[in-house]
Amino acid sequence: MLKAVTILALLVPSFAAAAGFPTVETVRMVVGCMAGLGEQSEENLLTCACRQDVLETELSFEVFEEASLQERYNSMPGKRGGLFRDDEISRENLKQLQDARKKAASSCPQVRKVPSVPRETE
């Protein structure tokens, strides 16, 4: 019994880590998404949080991690980049990530902001 509990205790955290996105990565992605849309604002936060939810539904963190390595490193010069360019698993994962991004963008169109300043009339 004690043994079983120990095994469970060991399994649970590692399973949780494999399935979910760590907070640090989620925040990094959302902040990056807002920067890509131009600025940190409430509207962009809504857009990016929505897109992040889609991504996290579509992809496991494992796949995301593999795909983002492929994306970041495959154009490195020389042998180093070759390691990534040639890797089939992460190339497939990158396709999944790109598809998930497309789905996230179509599911979560950019939230528009109505300027609080009246339009100037001529």
């Binding site: 760590p22 640090v24 990565e25 990094r28 992605m29 902040v31 990056g32 998404c33 920067a35 890509g36 991690e65 593999e66 390595l69 994306e71 970041r72 490193y73 495959n74 154009s75 490195m76 010069p77 020389g78 042998k79 180093r80 070759g82 390691l83 040639d86 890797d87 089939e88 698993i89 790109q98 991004r101």
Partner: protein
């Protein structure tokens, strides 16, 4: 004045002259023994990367948290690690940490009291000239320190001695610009010579290397005088004995190498008989007969022979020897350079004062796979076959872990440290010659033929990322690659760059693809790296931790029975030194290819490592050719994702961890 007193005067002056370097060296060695600081790239002159600090140990390492970070603001790969010096050495009021960046190789002095930058130094470098001549990412492997000077070996070959108090230049010299035309010089980025290595201060000298084996440079190992930056000696990797600093006492495998040991091994290339299968003979024949390896006619290809030097070098002061390895012979198409191509791919033991080689050992004669021999050398007292040996341990790119007697150059152990290694069955312990398998011999298979399933890949079973040694466990902790390749040497007829065109331009002439070693071993595994513990006395893997990607970070072992390493996904990991059990991991902002160092400040132990492998965002900014391309051309279909990495500062970040 009597003759007697005159000669005594000479002796006294000589003694005074000699005492200065010894004194300078003693002071640094004393400082190295203080575990609160980190003053030499390898931690100590044995290159152990081991610290006596034990505040962080295998019971509490799981509690580690990020203590502080520092972004270098530079993109691309960040290798090497910080130096940590006491106030007494720096002329400043407090302990300082010194850290470097990838191109253009900034140096930052960080006050450990305030965590503010005391000074920074950016060496002026011609990016357009230098960066395109760097074969494999624009890295720098860090700084050196001795005699009140911080040393930086910048990419454009300038070696700087900086004042640790304010970053002002004490002296600077160009490593290679002084080489005369009859020796192939002057060398610099314009003709393919760059630097990536950390300068290594040893005694009164600063030792530095050479990169450019992919650009037809005849590389070297050089010692500059720390006092003024003048050249003390330079030893080329290949060429006449006067250039490679070999004398009648230089041995290999216990025998004198004799005159012209290098020149004899660069054979003339006969295009008529070099198509298809090899004219160099069956591997088994030449492996077992020195006569089969002799050239019918020699060539002068050694003049662009490669043999670059960019690793981590220890010193033995009892023997007055410094140890290093060098890289591949120029052009990756082996067919056009028959011969053993000595002394590329070799380990050297050289006199620190004169540079003359005591012994040399060529690990990969006539390289056919780019198995550079540049990886670090580690010195340890080991028991081999029941005898205590002053050993040198080296994990080569070619997949063999070598244990040698560092005094004599005797080969004691040569065993595979990755079971996937297949290019050679074994190393003949009498001759030291690897027994190459024809199937994986890219020369035997011929030009424009794809040799398949060669293990390891050109990355090697391990690259420069240095291993650590713990005298407590007597184990070596080794970051490794577990990758195989296809390799196609490209002939001149098929468009290979010719010998005449080569000097200063790309001179590779091979096509490669890489994949996990599990595909060749047929065991269904997909991991491309392992972090292993190695018994260098027996030549055996003690345990092995599979990693999805190659492990490109340096390792650190401590008296707290913890070993640190990092992964390309960006995880900093702490494991138990005995069992390899994972104790802690932390996701850093980028992949880790830096080396872990440790120090303590005000009674608290810190562990630091550079996170930052570079990648496409960096490539666009840092490489002029890519910068001029459209986003799609440079990056492929990644669209607007460029902004993400820019905004999250995909630059080198020094991550520093401690207990809460």
């Amino acid at each position: 004045m009597s003759k007697f007193s005159f000669s005594r005067w000479i002796i006294v002056s000589l003694a005074l002259f000699m005492s200065f370097p010894t004194y300078a060296n003693d002071a640094l060695r004393e400082l190295m023994n203080d575990a609160n600081y980190w003053v030499f790239p390898g931690g100590n002159y044995n290159n152990w990367r081991y610290s006596e600090l034990d505040q962080i140990n295998n019971n509490n390492a799981g509690d580690l948290v990020a203590a502080w970070t520092f972004s270098t603001g530079r993109l691309q790969g960040h290798e090497g690690g910080p130096l940590v010096l006491p106030a007494s050495e720096t002329g400043l009021n407090s302990d300082h940490l010194y850290i470097h960046a990838s191109f253009p190789n900034d140096v930052f002095a960080i006050d450990l009291e305030t965590l503010e930058i005391t000074w920074d130094f950016v060496p002026p470098q011609d990016e357009a000239e230098t960066v395109p001549k760097m074969c494999c990412d624009i890295v720098n492997r860090g700084l050196g320190y001795s005699m009140g000077q911080i040393y930086l070996q910048a990419a454009d070959t300038t070696l700087y001695a900086l004042n640790p108090a304010d970053g002002s230049i004490i002296w600077q010299t160009k490593n290679g610009a002084d080489i005369s035309a009859d020796l192939g010089g002057p060398y610099g980025p314009a003709n393919g010579m760059t630097n990536t290595n950390a300068p290594h201060p040893i005694k009164d000298k600063v030792l530095t290397g050479c990169s450019g084996a992919e650009f037809g440079v005849r590389c070297w190992f050089a010692a500059f005088n720390a006092s003024d930056g003048s050249l003390a000696w330079r030893a080329f990797s290949m060429g006449p004995d006067a250039d490679i600093l070999f004398d009648e006492n230089t041995t290999s495998m216990g025998e004198p190498v004799g005159a012209d040991s290098s020149l004899k091994t660069w054979c003339a290339f006969d295009a008529e008989v070099s198509t298809g299968k090899s004219s160099w003979g069956e591997n088994a024949l030449r492996a077992n007969s020195a006569e089969e390896r002799m050239c019918a006619e020699t060539s002068d290809q050694w003049k662009i022979g490669g043999g670059s030097v960019w690793g981590w070098w220890p010193a033995d002061f009892d023997e007055n020897l410094v140890y290093y390895g060098n890289g591949n012979p120029g052009t990756w198409n082996p067919v056009v350079r028959p011969g053993d191509n000595r002394w590329s791919m070799s380990i050297f033991a050289r006199d620190i004062d004169t540079g003359v080689a005591r012994w040399v050992y060529q690990m990969t004669p006539h390289d056919e796979w780019d198995y550079d021999g540049i990886n670090e050398m580690i010195l340890a007292e080991l028991e081999v076959n029941g005898e205590s040996v002053p050993a040198l341990v080296h994990f080569d790119r070619n997949g063999f872990g070598y244990t040698m007697n560092r005094k004599t150059g005797e080969l004691l152990v040569a065993e595979k440290y990755d079971p996937a290694v297949n290019w050679a069955t074994h190393v003949d312990m009498k001759t030291g010659y690897p027994q190459v398998v024809n199937e994986y011999s890219t020369h035997y298979n011929g030009q424009d033929v794809v040799s398949k399933d060669v293990c390891p890949a050109a990355l090697g079973t391990k690259d420069q990322q240095p291993a650590a040694y713990s005298p407590k466990t007597n184990l070596f902790y080794v970051p490794t690659n577990h990758v195989c390749m296809t390799y196609e040497p490209v002939s001149y007829d098929a468009g290979g760059v010719t010998y005449e065109q080569a000097a200063g331009s790309w001179y590779v002439n091979a096509n490669l693809t890489m994949y996990p070693a599990g595909q060749v071993m047929g065991n269904g595994t997909t991991n491309m790296g392992n972090f292993i513990a190695w018994d260098a006395s027996a030549g055996k893997i003690v345990w092995s931790i599979p990693e999805r990607w190659s492990v490109w970070s340096g390792a650190l072992a401590t008296n707290g029975d913890v070993v640190f390493y990092g992964t390309l996904e960006g995880y900093a990991k702490a494991i138990d030194a005995s069992s390899g059990k994972l104790l802690w991991q932390f996701k850093t902002p980028s992949g880790i290819i830096g080396n872990f160092n440790t120090w303590s400040h005000k009674g608290k132990q810190y562990v630091g490592v550079l996170s930052g492998i570079g990648g496409w965002a960096g490539a666009v900014v840092a490489i002029p050719v890519l910068r001029d391309m459209s986003g799609d051309a440079a990056l492929g279909a990644v669209g607007g994702y460029r902004a993400l990495w820019n905004s999250t500062r995909n630059s080198g970040v020094l991550m520093v961890f401690s207990l809460p």
